[in-house]
Amino acid sequence: MAPVAEQQAITEALLDLRDGTPGALDRLVPLVYGDLARVAHRQLGLEADGHTLSTTALVHEAYLRLVDQTRAQWVDRAQFFAVAAGAMRRVLVDHARRHTAGRRGGVGRRTVSLEALEAADSTELAASDRADVLVAVDEALERLASLDPRQARVVECRFFGGLTEAETAEALGVTARTVTRDWVKARGWLFQELRDDAP
């Protein structure tokens, strides 16, 4: 049956991830995506109102479920955080994209107003602007990944996964200093890439 094959694939990918096989993470995300998406959706639905979305709680719950499902006690929790961050990114961006579809048909690079970019915590920002920012960040992150995969991964963990610098360092197997520096540079690059300089 399909689910068994899927389980095996997950186990394989987890083993590869543990062994540091290149690409393991990328294979794992789509495999556990459905499950993570369900957890994420539930979390979002529950907590969207309070505007206090606990990404960390989401990641922990998703991790526990995966461990439970695969009985894979040896899964590295920190590494799994990176997987969950990727899943969170897809859930949020898919959601944003579904609602921006049709509104934005254009090709080419998407930019957003400076106001929207810097207004992360402002409650004033309209939903459509939030969606635009998320989609634009996602697309820019794709481009960053082709230039510098590690920087893109750091953004995924820090921004989409809500991980701390220390957790990100552990998840990606690099030093905290590297994460700090990558985060500064990636934010700068994204800022430059996303800002709408048109007068």
């Binding site: 979002l44 080419g108 920012v133 998320l134 989409f160 540079k185 934010r187 800022f191 300089d197």
Partner: protein, 916 residues
């Protein structure tokens, strides 16, 4: 790998240009930027120049990135929080938008159906909705009877599925049995597949179980017998139900009627893409309901037969007896697994009073292997005859069922066993589509109905619908209704129910949409829990525009009925929930429309709107002189008029009184009319009579914000400060976003000399509207007497700049200047007031100015005359009047007005006018 596109509008060289995409170039830029970031900001530029040497392009790219890094790092907002927090408001709003779009689609479906069926049926409203179909209440024109029309969603019908669906429906339509809901009619209406059933008044077994849990033994047994009877009949005609569940069992007059016989198969036929398959198919599996699905059906066994219905009967019987599903609340997949592998928990333990043979029968129905179950519904009926005759502990002795169950129930109740199983968990979550009745909704806000018709001119009508509903709900005892201003603050805003619930402190929201097309009216209404944003109840209605009253009544009745169970033990007090409380008061649709427009303008406030309001109300009473509510509305409009228009003749009181008395003669239960009279009595300085009228109004409508507000201000003026604080606090609780109520509350706290609280209350209002004059006044007042004269000056000067024409603030500013020792400024204001036409208050302000400068005589003289008293009217413990309490004439005058002397009054609230 696609190179990132350049930014065409950025002038010199671009960091994202083609050359940078080569990893070598990227690494070079990174190296330079890394090096620069290691240095203090001041040294970075020089470092970049040096590191890049002659490579100008590299230095430009590195500088650009570096600058962006600094900019991004210095920004608090950019990629600051976790994305989830950033997205949360978006998700909430999209959810609202999705809901609105879904409502629109549903409305369009109802319209399309009505058009297609117009010859035979009038579609009245939606009764329910599932994943695949929607059920409407309709009137069968030819036979003058109510029917339920079930329509398949267009997107579930596969090509060629329509013919197969109708074929299957025709087979099911052959059934006629007292416990089977027949099919009257079916067809394909412009691509909409539908079938028509009799409309059965009553509830489903699901609703009953959700509300009450386990059923009394006798009733449970009768129910199982009736279901078995229905199954026996249908099976004998070769029809298997395939989806028996409490949602499909209607309770009509206490008896079970099974709906949707053979529909599961018809749906399967409609949804399959034409591949002929024997027995059940994967699509068929998806169509069943996991919670009631026999193991063989769950795995799509082709030999699945009528015995699957017997398994479902076993689950329903178990649930009716135990008050809970045998496998509890689980995800659909987990339920399927449980049906396949888990034995149900022993029923005897969960329902100790059930006869052993009954427990044995239900257990046998739940056998995994069809061959181990009773082999036919007839066999179940025979077993029931035996089972019910043998209650627990008395095997094999025939005895009357009624006697046995009564005795066992009594025994159970006396030892507390009743309570134990009564409290057993409700139906499995995720199985029931209908949410259980809300536990305790005693507080509700009626949000403005959204006018989806597009014509802004119809806003008065959707608002009228809203107010009509609020008016009816305001009269329900035990229900607290949020104030109109606060509820309307959410008009046109996409805010999550939970958030609104938090702001307004209510348990549920009522809202909906109104669409007036040329000759049709469509209203949707919803009741939403603020605990979790779940829709507790919703429905839609339509009619011709001429039937507006009937539709309004129906909506009101339905909302009241939906809320009434939630009022728990107050249900009896609420009277019959089916009757809409509070009459409309006219049968003339045009007069009613004029009334709604009058009310709309009244609530918009402002001088011009009040004048328009009065004009419309007058037209309304001209058309229908017996229209009590229009008279009451007129009284209120006259009542607030002096706030906006200077009325030197003081004719308002007479106008208010005439309209209010007219209204009360027609309908003595109109709270608004009592409030109008109370306002007129305040104008006449008859405080005690006015209080009685306010209290009468509040007895009729305990949540009437205008009543609490008016009474509070009256008590304040009468010197009953503590009562006033309590009353105005109540008004602000009911209507937390109403600025005038919040300002009056702040003023009451000033009177109570609770200045820090008063300041906080004023600031709450200013947070809603930083320019609201009354709140600026309150804030300045609180600062002035709370020992912050300099802050008071700043506040009141700001107020005077914003509202140069508001007279009250000018004299208060004069007090503030005096308190701050700025006597020159105080002199300037006094001079302005003494200029001809400089005091719009008719001498009151000028008299206060003299008080500030140490001469209380002009003010005492003014406030001991009736004319002066009417112009001022705010007596009581007003700190501005403190020095007057030392004057015997003033004390006597106040006593005559029944104003209590102020125990908090200080001899002179301001520092003496020093030499400088």
């Amino acid at each position: 790998m696609t190179p990132p596109e350049g930014k065409p509008h950025v002038a010199p060289v671009d960091a994202g240009s083609e050359s940078a995409s080569s990893s070598g170039r990227w690494r070079e830029i990174q190296r330079v930027v890394d090096g620069a970031l290691d240095l203090p900001p001041a040294e970075r530029d020089a470092f970049v120049s040096e590191a890049c040497g002659p490579d100008v392009a590299l230095s430009v790219q590195a500088r650009q990135l570096l600058e962006a890094c600094e900019r991004a790092a210095g920004s608090d907002g950019f990629l600051a929080g976790p994305a989830g927090a950033f997205a949360a408001p978006m998700i909430a709003e999209f959810a609202v938008q999705d809901a609105a779009a879904a409502a629109e689609r549903r409305a369009a479906l109802a319209d399309a159906l009505q058009v297609a069926l117009s010859e035979r049926y009038v579609v009245e409203r939606e009764l329910g909705r599932g994943g695949m179909a929607t059920v409407y209440l309709a009137r069968d024109i030819r036979h003058e009877r109510a029917v339920a029309v079930k329509v398949l969603s267009r997107d579930v019908v596969a090509p060629g599925g329509a013919a197969r669906f109708l074929q299957e429906i025709r087979t099911a339509a052959g059934l006629t049995h007292p416990h089977v809901l027949g099919v009257h009619d079916s067809g394909d209406a412009n691509g909409l597949l539908y079938y028509v059933m009799p409309y059965v008044e009553g509830e489903t077994l699901r609703t009953r179980l959700s509300r009450e849990g386990a059923l009394p033994l006798a009733e449970a047994v009768r129910l199982v017998r009736e279901l078995a009877d229905a199954l026996a009949y249908a099976h004998a005609h070769g029809i298997v139900h395939r989806d028996l569940k409490p949602e499909n069992v209607l309770l009509a007059g206490g008896h079970a009627v099974v709906a949707d016989f053979g529909i599961a198969k018809a749906l399967a036929a409609a949804t399959q893409d034409g591949t002929p398959r024997g027995g059940l198919t994967s699509a068929g599996v998806a169509l069943g309901t996991p919670a009631y699905m026999a193991p063989e059906q769950a795995v799509g066994d082709a030999s699945t037969d009528h015995r699957a219905d017997l398994y479902a009967l076993g689950v329903v019987a178990y649930e009716a007896l135990a008050g809970a599903h045998p496998f509890g609340a689980r995800a659909p997949q987990a339920l399927v697994v449980a049906h396949l592998t888990e034995p149900p928990p022993p029923l005897g333990a969960r329902r100790p009073d059930a006869p052993r043979s009954l427990v044995a029968l239900v257990t046998q129905l739940l056998e995994k292997d069809p061959a181990a179950r009773p082999q036919s519904a007839d066999a179940v009926l025979r077993a029931l005859d035996g089972a019910t005759a043998a209650p627990a502990g008395t095997p094999s002795r025939r005895r009357g069922l009624r006697l046995a169950t009564a005795a066992t129930l009594l025994a159970a109740a006396s030892v507390g066993g009743y309570a134990v199983w009564k409290r057993a968990p409700g139906p499995p979550r995720g199985v029931a589509d209908t949410a259980p009745a809300p536990a305790a909704i005693r507080t509700v806000a009626v949000l403005p109905f959204v006018n989806t018709g597009g014509a802004a001119a119809d806003d008065f009508f959707s608002d009228g619908m809203t107010d009509e509903l609020a008016h009816a709900l305001a009269r329900l005892p035990g229900l607290r209704l949020a104030g109109r201003t606060s509820s309307y603050a959410f008009k046109g805003k996409a805010i999550a129910a939970q958030e609104i619930g938090r702001v307004l402190d209510v348990g549920a929201l009522v809202g909906g949409t109104v669409r007036r097309a040329s000759d049709r009216l469509r209203i949707t209404a919803q009741l939403v829990s603020t605990a979790d944003g779940k829709v507790l109840w919703d429905s839609s209605y339509q009619s011709g525009v001429g039937d507006v009253f009937a539709v309004q009544d129906e909506v009101t009745r339905a909302v009241v009925a939906a809320l009434t169970p939630a009022l728990g033990d107050r249900r009896g007090a609420a009277g019959t929930p089916s009757a809409p409380p509070g009459g409309r008061g006219t049968t003339d649709a045009e007069a009613y429309e004029l009334y709604l427009k009058g009310r709309y303008y009244f609530l918009e406030r402002g001088a011009a709107n009040i004048a328009r309001s009065i004009a419309h109300y007058r037209l309304a009473v001209a058309r229908d002189p017996a229209f009590a509510r229009a008279h009451a509305g007129l009284a209120l409009a006259y009542g607030v008029l002096p706030t906006y228009v200077v009325d030197p003749t003081d004719s308002a009181a007479a106008l208010i009184t005439a309209s209010a008395r007219r209204a009360l003669a027609l309908d003595s239960t109109l709270a608004d009319a009592h409030i109008g009279l109370a306002m007129a009595l305040v104008h006449q300085l008859r405080f005690a009579d006015s209080e009685a009228r306010y209290r009468a109004a509040l007895a009729l409508e305990p949540s009437n914000v205008m009543g609490h507000h008016g009474l509070g201000v009256l008590l304040l003026s009468a010197g009953r400060t503590d009562e006033a604080v309590a009353e105005l606090r109540r008004a602000t609780q009911l209507d937390p976003l109403a600025k005038s109520g919040g300002s009056a509350f702040a003023m009451a706290l000033v009177h109570a000399r609770r200045f820090p609280e008063a300041e906080a209350a004023a600031r709450r209002v200013l947070a809603l509207d930083s320019t609201f004059p009354l709140a600026i006044w309150d804030l300045g007042f609180a600062q002035l007497f709370g020992g912050q004269p300099d802050s008071a000056v700043r506040t009141l000067e700001r107020g005077a700049r914003m509202h140069p024409d508001a007279p009250g603030q000018r004299s208060l500013l004069l007090f503030a200047y005096a308190a701050a020792g700025r006597w020159a400024d105080a002199e300037r204001v006094r001079a302005q007031l003494n200029r001809p036409g400089g005091d719009p208050s008719g001498g009151v302000m000028a008299a206060f100015a003299e008080l500030v400068f140490g001469d209380r005589e002009p003010l005492v003289r003014l406030l001991t005359t009736e004319v002066g008293q009417r112009r001022w009217r705010m007596f009581g413990c007003n700190p501005l009047l403190d020095p007057l309490w030392a004057d015997a004439r003033f004390v006597t005058a106040m006593r005559r007005l029944a104003v209590k002397a102020c125990p908090l009054a200080r001899p002179w609230p301001l520092p003496p006018r020093a030499g400088g």
